[in-house]
Subunit: 355 residues, 4 copies
């Protein structure tokens, strides 16, 4: 009997269900003697033994379904080794559930924080296989995470819609795009949406350069400007402060879009408007690209399980599915390289990065 | 020679271009000796004589185009009779432009404020024909305005996406929908998106009833609640205050969604999240429903011009296009009727209106 | 105890699930002592006693789901009074199931054929309540059926996409739109998609007029022409033939689009291409308009059940929900009126109807 | 003065305008002394000297526009060296136009056939830079062509919609997907749409295996089957015939979907339906993925022009933009590798390839 635990952890994103369907369908293609244990709400379910025994048919028809049928929760890694509310060691509790159910392995679909925990469980001797899930695409070891392209599609759609309003009214529009500490989603949605200015965490911006870019557009007869700003974007001045002072500087505004709007309003007479698509960027049916990626990664994870090749993440590199050891993935962020060719190409087409 | 001025006024919305295309195509079907004067940025263009002479082909291929090729601006009616920055009477300036160009008539695509001004110009002797444009659907005299269904589609799409996130995380999600002082868009998007609670300006809500509805869902095992709230929604308590105090009470929060979120957080231990789709609700390509409506209304406006039947708005009532005198339209808002059957039907399906 | 049977009959369409959800949610809002019997695959399930006992939660989360959770099948009315494969009277068998389960009433979601059968069951003494379901919008007694607007949206999307190809290549494109014997979907999608020529069953076309319209476009410098043709469209010549000869004339071509393509190719040197979106027009998530309509009609049907007001269809007229006796609905088609104002308005904007 | 000719050739696809916008914007970022010559309708425009002098602003606002603002036409390579209708050598005429306009280079956006011609012009001494355009993704030398992902999105949307109908009625549905002689679009759309069977040109199918897969689904209680078939798919028997006999065998059916439908109908009692999305797969606004890819490739082509590095195609390999000599690209097709891991992964999840 093959006993597989599975959980989804961290912020939800598109194609979580598609990926789980891939894992389970592929296992059942090769084995009949399978039991799937679906843990509720991420690591919490593993901690508290909150699970359902699922069958093949529970994963049928969910390819296009947004969200996760298992539920998810954010479990900050920092708190992971702290005792839980019953005073018990969290990791110890998770191990106990794992062993009590005689699991052969645990499949974790998660992003950065979740991979730290997954690696910790691996170090504790559990057989762990992971899948790279996040709209941010900031996971080390894989070219691409599922959720990313769907989020880019939604953020682009937002910029497209704002474009018509901006054109009609002649305003500066700031669209704040998700992405946590990295700029991947913003960069792609910004290029795809025809943003005039793109501000990213990896390229601290100079507000005076931003204002000059706006003024230059106005002088050339274009009455509106579209700015795509990553939620983690940062100004040059603030980037040079110590971490704590950075945090304080940011806390003055609801979010970075408001900070930039304020500064532009101080320096120009343009009307400025803000749009924050927010959680919609995580929601709804995955785009076809993500469905293919998630299905492939899911099948690849199943292969790892069938081969008992544990302690690794199914990843994609140069369009091929590979396996990356968890210790290489855990604790590292995949930032945008400011010197990468996509930045240069974007600049060539006239996009300003505020520098 | 038939000389037709045309302008789009107020907040932009979908199908403005489709409607103008309808007007112009229909005029050219019947007449060859036509000159079209497109005024820039709404009434401003008429005031300052800022226009372009347009041809039939300028209106070709714009059926699906969002925004307005003429630009638009908000001109509060209250300021309309104040002198402009040159100390001149605004209405007088518009009349001068109209007469200087020897216009036979002026076509105005606008919402509530714009119809007040249109009626004022009519009173001053100008030949005015109008089209009902607004996502809010709050214009008196017509069952439907173009832009409304497109806005409903976008707001519903937002709720759909949030649904998957809400399900995955088990949260209360508040989606704030546009609509100015009326609840039409929110009601329709709320029903279409399967919202659990819908809060509308026309039905002041009781926060305790809202909280009870959330708790009832939790008790029945549903871990999330979706609240669609109109930007003009108001609590019972505040609704009973005098106007000025109402304004002050509202000013404490960035917008109504934040107020409700605060109150729910005070009264429950649920995580609450806010999504504000904002200006995206006015943007992008019009939905097919709006394209048909705008084309029909545009053609009907052309018929009015060809028949020299002025001083009226092309409107739709019981699925037929009719003509409504401007004096009946100007200055009235079309509110939702709290006793209408759609409200009763929505309540029957389990939706709470917070009362 | 309230025992309600429910079935979906005829070709599937969008919002069937939304409507059933409306019925069931509204019944449970008012009553606790309810049993819902879902018959499989339309009247077949009622005939053969093939059903599932469903609960409130089976209808949760299906608002946006395409298709029907009960399955459906086409049961031509003509065959309804013929014995079934076991030599038993079909209607008699349905009555037996109904009585055996002690049903209080039967809810039927169906189009034209299904309403004939529903009326027949009413005549046999069953308590029947119906909902108007069809993309064709050809059901007598209601201004609108659910499925229609979703089908218009999909057909319009097809025309939109073809537009870019047509423009790039300078071709004649024929898009064949569903609608059975009526032209509602084609007319609305044709106007919304900016079709140059629209051919409808209710307005038999003259191929020479069609060709002249194409040539006129070419002469004016427009290298492409978009023709939206209803699957039931018919030429003047064929329309004048007796029914049998009509059928033979039609049988020469896979479908009407091929006939028209052939005739255009004979008469011009234009490249002609055909696109048939086909069953996609029935599929996928219902548009927000249909979700609202289906939810309202569902709730209204529940009200009829709770009031024991049977033998009627929940319908919409002038934006209000009404109840129409089944004997008025059964056996009648709601054709497009060639003299209606929407046709005149479309012609005004330059659309040719081939006459 | 930098004189750049530009043309789009072959079947139209999404992101042609986005790519041209990228080229032109990037050239103008670096140079002021530029003249852009846009040739009409592909190589024809170059042959007959049919062009427009375009400016930077002609390429503004076209990022999201489907089709090509220059028009396109198919020019079979085989006919390229035949004299034109005036008895003149086609290539010679193109050279003359090029030299008469003192062009510094020619930018060609095209697929396979167009690259053969581009290479021929290079051999004749013209400075040619190309961009890989085709929904088929069958161009040698690049991992990805623009248009591909947009076509996958549309074909997937078709399968999604058919899924709801198939589920409701319990039928076999065959969706015929574009792709010319290769299966890339079908494979990706098939996986993304959750097809049960995928039939590709590169993997000749055995109809008996297809039928067994259908029967297996029925036995397991699933009443419907979705088959995604590439327009170039071929059965084992026919694949073994000589080319001429293959052609004859195919000519018996309107297209491959009809052949497969016939064979399934002969072998099972299942209702079979066909959907052919056809040209819609080339149409409409490019998806964000394609917009980013086309913009990057466009900027990269501009870099090549500015560096006078001619005779190459801008391509993407392992997520980086590279330059591939035209002689390596011309005349080769990039087929799907039947042994690639994506095929294995798809099979693991239960998809049958009919072998």
């Amino acid at each position: 009997m093959l006993r597989v635990g599975i959980l989804t952890s961290g912020g939800d994103c598109q194609a979580l269900n598609a990926a789980m369907r891939g894992v389970v369908k592929a296992i059942y293609t090769k084995r009949d003697d399978v039991e799937i244990y679906g843990f509720q709400d991420g690591y919490k379910g593993l901690m508290y033994g909150d699970f359902k025994v699922l069958e093949s048919r529970d994963f049928s028809g969910i390819l296009t379904l947004g969200g996760t049928i298992l539920g998810t929760s954010r479990q900050p890694f920092k708190l992971m080794r702290k005792p839980d509310e019953n005073g018990l060691d969290k990791v110890e509790e998770m191990k106990q559930t794992y062993h009590k159910l005689h699991l052969n392995c645990l499949v974790v679909l998660g992003g950065n924080g979740s991979h730290k925990t997954a690696n910790l469980l691996r170090e504790e001797g559990l057989n762990v296989v992971t899948l790279p899930k996040t709209i941010d695409n900031d996971l080390w070891g894989t070219d691409m995470t599922f959720g990313f392209q769907s989020a880019v599609d939604i953020a682009t759609d937002t910029i497209d819609r704002i474009h018509t309003t901006a054109t009609s009214h002649g305003r500066v529009f700031i669209i704040e795009v998700m992405g946590h500490k990295v700029g991947h989603v913003t960069l792609h949605a910004g290029i795809a949406g025809g943003a005039d200015i793109i501000l990213l965490p990896e390229i601290p911006y100079d507000i005076d350069v931003v204002v000059r870019a706006i003024n230059r557009r106005n002088k050339s007869g274009k009455k509106f400007t579209i700015i795509a700003v990553a939620e983690g974007a940062i100004s040059k001045e603030v980037a040079e402060l110590p971490k704590k002072a950075q945090k304080e500087a940011r806390a003055k505004y609801p979010s970075v879009a408001y900070e930039i709007a304020d500064k532009i309003s101080e320096r120009t007479d343009q009307e400025v408007r803000i749009t924050v698509p927010g959680h919609t960027q995580r929601g709804g049916s995955p785009c076809p690209y993500d469905r293919v990626l998630a299905t492939r990664l899911g099948a690849a994870a199943a292969e790892m399980i069938l081969e008992e090749d544990y302690g690794k993440m199914a990843a994609v590199r140069n369009n091929e599915i590979i396996r990356v050891p968890l210790e290489e993935v855990a604790g590292k962020l995949k930032y945008l390289d400011p010197d990468s060719s996509i930045i240069r190409e974007a600049e060539l087409t006239g996009i300003s990065f505020g520098i």
